[in-house]
């Protein structure tokens, strides 16, 4: 009970200080937005984060139409075609799909191009696992590409026919060339078809919601960075308490030294937890950051990161001898840990050496945890290791703080 009273008293003092709100909430929101907009483009075209399903593409036809189909498939939002040699055996292709190396195989049968302008159109052969959501995605993607292809071919045929009416072709070669040109135009016009503008835009919107956006990096980064900055106020309370004699006075009541430490730790933990909750809610709701995609994982990383930050606050509070030192001991580690730990620039974009060095900082593990959720769409299992390591850092910092406090 005394522990809780002490913690609440700390929180009351933190709330009384307007700087708390500046450091804990206002600054991280501003910097999340600034960094998010500044690095807005860094995840586009990045193969590593391509969320589309990979599918095999086997061209047994080897005629002029199949490259067009390949190009159309490549533009798909849902699937990403990977070319296979035409002579790969069916068994081999089936094995690849069965073992989930690829979501599906698309085979363009011999004579496909020839058959398209006719009434006896050949069908594409698709190998896939039955009744899977990936299968449905592949079918939709292929269907969309084939629709575009047949529509384009019709348009090209129609155009060639009209042209022949007014201005007959000199030779079959000329006519074929004209057809190819028209087909190319028709396919190209699918990129910006005036009449389907609305539907493609809607599709693009939805896609963005599922894909990581630039805020997915800046949100956890700035949140962690400013949680450390926010320790200035909380750790300052410990220093003032020692200097004013309030600590001595507390010790004349029935509370023990250990209980005092736990009370302050609890206050810092709650402070950071409240901060994280508000910032995560804000980013998830207004910036589309996918914290809610794996709620349990988010909760685990949030709790362990908050524990770590609080333990660091305890260490600062017990090491610093003055309020000036509190500021120094908070801001210097904040810059070093945030910089090295990838809170500013994602560690994937740095050299392997930097990445290795970075992972000696707890911030890197907090970032890993959050990014596994919001950038890589992973779940609870992916954050177990970061959470465990954060707990390790927590134990180390808290242990040092206890040692300092008892030694005083």
């Amino acid at each position: 009970m005394r522990i809780l009273n002490l913690a609440l008293n700390d929180l009351l003092q933190i709330i009384r200080d307007w700087k708390s709100f500046l450091f804990l909430l206002i600054m991280p929101v501003i910097f999340t937005l600034v960094f998010g907009f500044a690095f807005g483009g860094f995840d586009t075209g990045d193969e590593e984060v391509d969320p589309r399903l990979p599918v095999g593409f086997v061209d047994q036809d080897q005629e002029q139409i199949s490259p067009v189909l390949f190009a159309l498939l490549k533009k798909s939002d849902a699937i990403r075609p990977v070319t296979f040699e035409e002579d790969t055996t069916l068994e081999e292709l089936e094995r690849i799909v069965a073992e989930d190396e690829l979501a599906a195989m698309i085979i363009v049968p011999d004579g496909y191009s020839e058959s398209l302008p006719t009434d006896q159109k050949l069908k594409l052969i698709i190998i896939q696992k039955e009744a899977t959501s990936a299968g449905a995605t592949v079918q939709n993607g292929v269907q969309a590409a084939v629709n575009r292809l047949t529509n384009s071919i019709s348009a090209a045929q129609f155009s060639t026919m009209i042209q022949a009416q007014f201005n007959p072709f000199g030779s079959q070669t000329d006519q074929d060339a004209y057809f190819d040109g028209s087909l190319e135009n028709a396919v190209a016009s699918w990129d910006a078809p005036p009449f389907t503008l609305i539907s493609t835009q809607t599709g693009a919107e939805e896609e963005r919601a599922e894909q990581p956006n630039a805020f997915s990096h800046s949100s956890p980064g700035m949140m962690v960075q400013f949680a450390i900055a926010g320790l200035i106020g909380a750790a300052g309370i410990l220093v003032i308490e020692r200097k004013s004699g309030s600590l001595q006075r507390l010790l004349t009541t029935a509370i023990s030294r250990t209980e005092i430490l736990i009370g302050h730790f609890l206050a810092m933990f709650l402070m950071v937890l409240i901060q994280f909750t508000i910032l995560i809610g804000f980013a998830a709701i207004f910036l589309d950051v996918g914290y809610f995609d794996a709620p349990l994982a988010t909760i685990l990383v949030t709790l362990t990161t908050a524990l770590f930050v609080a333990s660091m606050g305890m260490l600062i509070g017990t090491l610093a001898k003055s309020e000036e030192q509190v500021i120094m001991y908070s801001l210097i580690p904040m810059f070093i840990l945030s910089g090295l730990g990838g809170a500013w620039v994602p560690l994937e974009f740095t050299s392997p050496t930097f990445r290795t060095v970075g992972h000696f900082t707890p911030v890197a593990w907090a970032m890993d945890g959050f990014q596994n959720i919001v950038m890589r769409g992973m779940g609870l299992e992916s954050v177990l290791m970061p959470a465990a390591i954060l707990l390790g850092f927590t134990a180390a910092c808290f242990g040092l703080a206890v040692w300092r406090f008892e030694y005083e």
């Binding site: 003092q13 004013s244 009541t253 029935a254």
Partner: protein, 314 residues
């Protein structure tokens, strides 16, 4: 309540490495009295109090509060004790009321009883109309009063006050002294430390004088003053540097002790009527003139001067 021993220390020792802050202190404070520990800066008063209130472990010796040993039954001892620290140990960011509420909870008070005690204390320390104001904005005297009020919340039988009037204006000081006497009238035992002999003299039933970590004298005011016997205390000013004058006066028959403080000379003499003429004469011989003389009744200052050869205030 009467005839019980409120605080007893038994051969308390404390050193901080090289510094021997307290060396063998024995004091006994009866329930219901005001007991003052008088001593100059650095005498060891706060160290004694820290040991009695369980903040410092004695190197040797023990203390009991209402019979509870502070080393063996710290919780029972602490429960009976209210401590007003020398520093102003309050939360500046909070209001007077919030401070009292918090400390009340730390002393184990709850609910309606807590609220009632807070209201009573606010009246006692005269801060009822400023209870919502942030302590940060308070004057030194107001902070001191709040500092005292906190120690009284849990209605302790024994209150220790460590120099509660340091650094405040005479008016606030008066208020504090009055409330100490009022609390004592209500039955509270008060252990009071100070380096103002006037405070010790006015408040106390018993006084102990401390210097260099030791109790050098103790008793009632009257008993202490008797130590200096028939000695008179003379305070005088001269119109030149004091060194040469002091040198010649030292060997004058009847002069017991002589010290200089802020240009003023303090002398302890056997009979001022016999000694004074000689002082004038000897001063003139070295070219000095006495500009003012005051003969005083012996007081605690005299006692301290007599026992240590130094002035109480430095």
């Amino acid at each position: 309540m009467s005839n019980r021993i409120a605080i007893q220390t038994n051969n308390l020792h404390k050193d901080f490495g090289e510094v021997y802050a307290v060396r063998g202190v024995n004091i006994e404070i009866q329930s219901g009295e005001i007991f003052s520990l008088l001593g100059p800066n650095g005498a060891g008063k706060t160290t004694v109090i820290s040991m009695i209130s369980g903040l410092l472990k004695p190197n040797q010796g023990d203390a009991t509060i209402l019979g509870h040993s502070i080393t063996h039954e710290p919780l029972a001892a602490k429960a009976a004790l209210g401590v007003v620290p020398q520093e102003i140990a309050i939360y500046e960011d909070l209001s007077a009321r919030e401070n009292l509420m918090f400390w009340g909870k730390m002393y184990g008070l709850r609910g309606a009883h807590l609220k009632q005690r807070v209201a009573e204390i606010l009246e006692t320390i005269g801060l009822a109309d400023r209870q919502k104001g942030r302590v940060e904005k308070f004057s030194g005297g107001m902070k001191r009063r709040l500092n005292i009020g906190i120690a009284l919340l849990h209605e302790p039988e024994v209150v220790i006050m460590d120099e509660p009037t340091v650094g405040i204006d005479p008016q606030s000081r008066r208020k504090i002294l009055d409330s100490v006497m009022e609390l004592n009238k209500q039955g509270m035992t008060v252990f009071y430390t100070t380096h103002y002999m006037e405070e010790a003299q006015e408040l106390s039933d018993h006084i102990a004088i401390m210097d260099h970590g030791e109790i050098i004298a103790s008793g009632t005011h009257a008993e202490l003053v008797k130590i200096v016997g028939e000695l008179d205390r003379i305070e005088l000013n001269i119109n030149t540097e004091s060194d040469r004058v002091m040198e010649t006066w030292k060997n004058t028959p009847g002069v017991e002790k002589i010290t200089a403080e802020n240009g003023q000379l303090h002398l302890l003499v056997n009979d001022s009527n016999l000694v004074l003429p000689q002082l004038f004469e000897k001063a003139a011989q070295v070219g000095s003139r006495i500009t003012s003389v005051e003969i005083q009744e012996p007081n605690l200052e005299t006692v301290f001067l007599h026992l240590t050869g130094r002035a109480l205030r430095d």
